[in-house]
């Protein structure tokens, strides 16, 4: 199996925290779409002829495209790739784009999973984040989507926001749970270098909550979601039974995927490639049929370390049987040796031939991961 990621780089306005690749100039939309469709054709052999089980429109803001435009892209993919019937097709969207009519069209063209960037239900938060939607839209969008027929809905939330107390966060989580979606992604706010938010923080205009407060928000999140039957299946992702994001899971499971559009990444088991992060240049390069991506071949140790990195983020942890069959006996014993310390500190546990991060370890994941890494 394999997946295809399609990056739609357009956003209405720039959120203060965001360092994903996006542009607020919608001018060259048609040029972009032409290039995108051309790229899909030129990279048709990347995934050999593996069956494509997931299609994911991410961004930027895919809901800035009309359903016609989305449909044209889907069509191009289906022509050049072996897309299975009932493939998971996700579109990331922003609440302000989700009118009843648009939702209906989305559903009609075959989008069967909708991911909505709600972030917060509180207007102050949304303003501080420079989001394009308001609290009203945040609260209504899910119901509208249901009405249009969507059965698989995910919402994005952010915690650790400036000024937000544990109480505020609790309210947000409770509101989210009332919407009763199949899936929730909840991210701890990361202050990314070069973003307007980072600037305000360095200038001291904004203060972010202390690590201690953030850990409390994190723990509360896990507790409340677990009570509502959402499984914490990846560091920032929660799902009802059999509602995990198939596409995103492929990132954590080592499944091959092709990424098209500016800044998109691809992986074929032995190397990673990344497209140029500039829409104008992307279009030019594709038009002139010049190389528009860079590639990095992964060494054995790179692959081992990525296996560890992605494995530990998931509820299943690192499967030791798999690990041994991929990388050998010696690698396994090395891994077990390096894991001793975290095991003894109760940050990791070994269950049914798996190394899994404990509840206590979850907030210290990066350090635990790097401790297990193999060295070149």
């Amino acid at each position: 199996m394999a997946g295809i990621y399609i990056h739609i780089p357009f956003c209405k306005q720039a959120c203060s925290y965001c360092d994903f690749y996006f542009t607020t100039h919608l001018l060259d939309k048609q040029d972009f779409l032409d290039a995108l469709i051309k790229e899909i054709a030129t990279r048709k052999t990347y995934l050999k002829s593996l069956p494509i089980e997931t299609l994911y429109f991410g961004g930027g803001t895919p809901s800035q495209l009309s359903t016609k435009e989305l449909q044209a892209v889907i069509k191009a993919v289906c022509i050049h790739f072996n897309v299975i019937e009932n493939a998971e097709i996700t579109v990331e969207s922003n609440p302000d784009d989700l009118t009843e009519e648009y939702l209906q069209q989305l559903f009609n063209i075959g989008i069967n999973r909708l991911s909505i960037g709600i972030q917060s239900f509180k207007n102050e938060d949304l303003e501080l984040m420079n989001r394009a939607h308001n609290s009203q839209e945040a609260e209504n969008c899910v119901a509208l989507a249901r009405k249009s027929g969507f059965k698989n809905i995910s919402i994005d939330l952010i915690y650790g926001l400036p000024n937000a107390t544990l109480e505020d966060w609790k309210t947000n989580v409770e509101k989210a749970l009332q919407l009763d979606t199949e899936h929730i992604s909840a991210y701890n706010l990361t202050i990314e270098k070069g973003t307007p938010l980072a600037h305000s923080v360095t200038k001291g205009r904004i203060t972010i909550p202390s690590d201690h407060e953030v850990v409390l928000q994190h723990n509360l999140l896990i507790e409340l979601l677990a009570k509502s039957g959402l499984e914490h299946y990846e560091t920032s992702n929660f799902a009802k039974k059999s509602s995990r994001s198939k596409h995103n899971s492929s990132y954590w499971k080592g499944t091959h995927y092709l990424g098209v559009g500016p800044s998109a990444h691809s992986f074929n088991g032995s190397s990673r490639s990344w497209n140029i992060s500039n829409t104008k240049k992307y279009v030019e390069l594709i038009e002139k049929e010049k190389s528009h991506f860079e590639t990095e071949t992964l060494s054995l140790i790179d692959r081992i370390n990525e296996f560890i990195l992605t494995g530990l983020r998931t509820a299943e942890g690192i499967g030791l049987v798999h690990f041994e069959s991929y990388f050998g006996k010696k690698a396994l014993s090395n891994l077990l040796r390096e894991s001793q310390e975290s095991l003894s500190k109760g940050l990791l546990e070994k269950k049914q031939h798996r190394l899994i991060v404990t509840a206590r370890g979850k907030v210290l994941l990066d350090g635990i991961t790097s401790d297990l890494f193999f060295e070149k």
Binding site: H212, T235, S263
Partner: protein, 596 residues
């Protein structure tokens, strides 16, 4: 013999010795234009990279003047104060010296100290103003200074430029005319003095010498008088750009010998070479062993690499006889060596050479000077490592090494330079005006005070217009306390330091603050304490790491995240465990960075 001249080039650092040597090598066709580089004689990578001379370099030149063929043996010497012993050993093999003075800078501290070394050995001094090509050259004023200093005639001062080659022929002329030919008796038994040795991985240890009496022939059975060791002169020759084999090296000349010498310590600079069968009666007067001035622990970053490190140290010592070391162990750092260095630059260079030539990365501890401790029973102990100091209750008193510091600066900066020296526990001994606006100040100071940030501070208070030189003057009693550092209650032996009582509190506070910056947060709180004996004088806490997790990890984030965590792992591997605390390498040098 009357056509041989043995001379060295001496000066303050960077006044252009090696560049001027290049020009002489060129004019005498000792080196082809093709082989010429800038500062050709600085042949070690580290010398070329830093643009300074570390080791003296001897080379022979042929030169014709007025129809006569001359052999000129030149030794280029380093200018940095750490390597002044190199100058003294070169001087012993010479009859004259070119004293180079940068015409834009005038006389500086090492100009004076090296001049006195040369005068002390009865060398003929030829003063040369260099860098005359520069518009900022100030020949008249600098000539005044030189006249005053040496008491020579103004006309005897030569002018040159190592850059353009101006004046170089007149320097060679002066070398031939003014420097006496070597004296010595060609018929007498062999008497040659070793003035340097080098190590070459193919050829082994090679000794350089000057023949004072007699001659040495290939195959001779010889003896080194001081060590008593006997050898066969397997190969001898002279020092051109490359070594050139000869069948004999005669009175007055400079040469090399390869004779199956095994260990660096068999070659003592200053030792006399003579024939076993027909030995000379008197040794050439040798000079003292070099004494290390500062000490520091050096430990392999990877604790498994102790044996490899010993090997590397042994090899390095073959090339650098001034490096001393002995095994040492530390609770915090494991097995390593306590090394003695000539100064901070020397220490830096040893560390760098270990890395580049032997691929050994090492942790260096805070350097210290050596102390003499006398306990209550009257027993005397040489202490090279603060953690070896006896318990305060058993200690009668401690002595520390003092130096005479000589600083030359512009009169505008006397005030700040004096305050700095006084802050560093200096006692003013003397102050002389060299010219109306240049002054020489002499201070008696504890050596320990110049080990830490003295150079940088001197440079900044004088805006760069101060030069500094020093000479040890023996030990003096001092009111010192041992400051210990504890991490979560465990003492870190490698961080102990001997500090003058008046500074201890300030110092303890600063070092705790610095360590707080340098020790990464861990899964628990870390208490950093400074203590004198049982008394805690300062405390800081590194708060526990509560959260360390990246929220997003999709396609593009994976490689980036992997690389970041790989780097973290590498950093952690290099840390040392003290009790339950992981301490990064930089922390062991925290004391040196207190003002950053």
């Amino acid at each position: 013999m009357k056509n041989i001249r043995n001379f060295c080039i001496i000066a303050h650092i960077d006044h252009g010795k090696s560049t001027l040597a290049d020009r002489m090598l060129q004019i005498t066709n000792t080196i082809s234009d093709r082989d010429l580089q800038e500062q050709t004689l600085d042949n070690m990578d580290i010398e070329r990279e830093r643009g300074i001379t570390i080791k003296s370099h001897a080379i022979q030149m042929d030169y014709e003047q007025d129809g006569e063929q001359y052999i000129l043996n030149l030794i280029d010497t380093p200018g940095h104060v750490d390597f002044s012993y190199e100058v003294s050993r070169s001087i012993a093999a010479c009859d004259g010296a070119l004293l180079i003075v940068d015409a834009t800078q005038g006389i500086q501290a090492q100009t004076i100290s090296n001049l006195y070394l040369a005068i002390g050995n009865d060398l003929e001094i030829i003063p040369v103003l260099n860098k005359m090509d520069l518009p900022s050259a100030n020949p008249e004023e600098v000539k005044d200074q030189i006249e005053e200093l040496i008491g020579c005639d103004r006309e005897d001062i030569l002018s040159a430029s190592g850059k353009t080659g101006f004046g170089v022929e007149s320097i060679l002329e002066a070398v031939i005319d003014r420097i006496p030919a070597p004296k010595g008796n060609p018929k007498a038994p062999l008497r040659a003095m070793i003035f340097d040795s080098v190590y070459n991985s193919f050829r082994g240890i090679i000794a350089y010498y000057r023949v004072f009496d007699g001659e040495i022939n290939k195959g001779d059975k010889v003896k080194f008088l001081n060590t008593g060791k006997e050898y066969s002169a397997d190969e001898i020759g002279i020092l051109k750009l490359k070594q050139e084999k000869r069948d004999s090296v005669k009175t007055g000349d400079v040469g090399y010998i390869i004779s199956g010498i095994k260990e660096a310590k068999e070659v003592k600079v200053g030792d006399t070479i003579t024939h076993i069968a027909n030995p000379c009666e008197q040794m050439v007067q040798g000079f003292e062993d070099v004494k290390p001035m500062v000490f520091a622990g050096m430990y392999p970053v990877d604790t498994d690499e102790y044996e490899e490190m010993r090997d590397a140290m042994d090899k390095l010592q073959l090339n650098d006889a001034s490096l001393t070391f002995e095994p040492e162990s530390s609770m915090a750092l494991g097995f390593g060596f306590r090394c003695g260095f000539l100064g901070m630059l020397h220490m830096e260079i040893v560390q760098e050479r270990l890395e580049r030539e032997f691929n050994m990365t090492v942790i260096t501890t805070v350097p210290n000077v050596s102390y003499i401790a006398t306990d209550k029973k009257g027993e005397i102990l040489n202490v090279h490592n603060p953690s070896d100091l006896p318990d305060p209750s058993k200690l009668e008193f401690v002595e520390e090494p003092y130096i005479n510091a000589q600083i030359i600066t512009k009169s505008d900066f006397i005030g700040p330079v004096m305050s700095l020296c006084i802050e560093k526990r200096g006692i003013l001994k003397n102050q002389v005006y060299l010219t109306t606006n240049r002054v020489e100040i002499n201070f008696e100071m504890p050596l320990a005070e110049i080990v830490f940030d003295f150079y940088d501070r001197l440079k900044s208070v004088s805006k760069g217009y101060a030069s500094f030189d020093y000479a040890p003057i023996g030990f003096k009693r001092s009111d010192l306390s041992k400051l210990d550092i504890l991490l979560n209650g465990d003492q870190v032996d490698a961080l102990s330091a001997l500090i003058h009582k008046s500074n201890a509190y300030y110092f303890g506070k600063k070092i705790c603050e610095k360590l707080k910056e340098l020790i990464p947060r861990q899964q628990f709180d870390i208490a950093i304490q400074a203590a004198i004996g049982a008394k805690i004088i300062s405390r800081e806490t590194v708060k526990a790491l509560r959260k360390d997790v990246t929220a997003k990890c999709y396609g593009g984030d994976i490689s980036r995240k992997r690389k970041l965590l790989e780097k973290q792992k590498k950093g952690k591997k290099r840390m040392r465990q003290v009790g339950n605390v992981e301490v990064p390498q930089e922390a062991f040098l925290a004391v040196l960075k207190l003002n950053d």
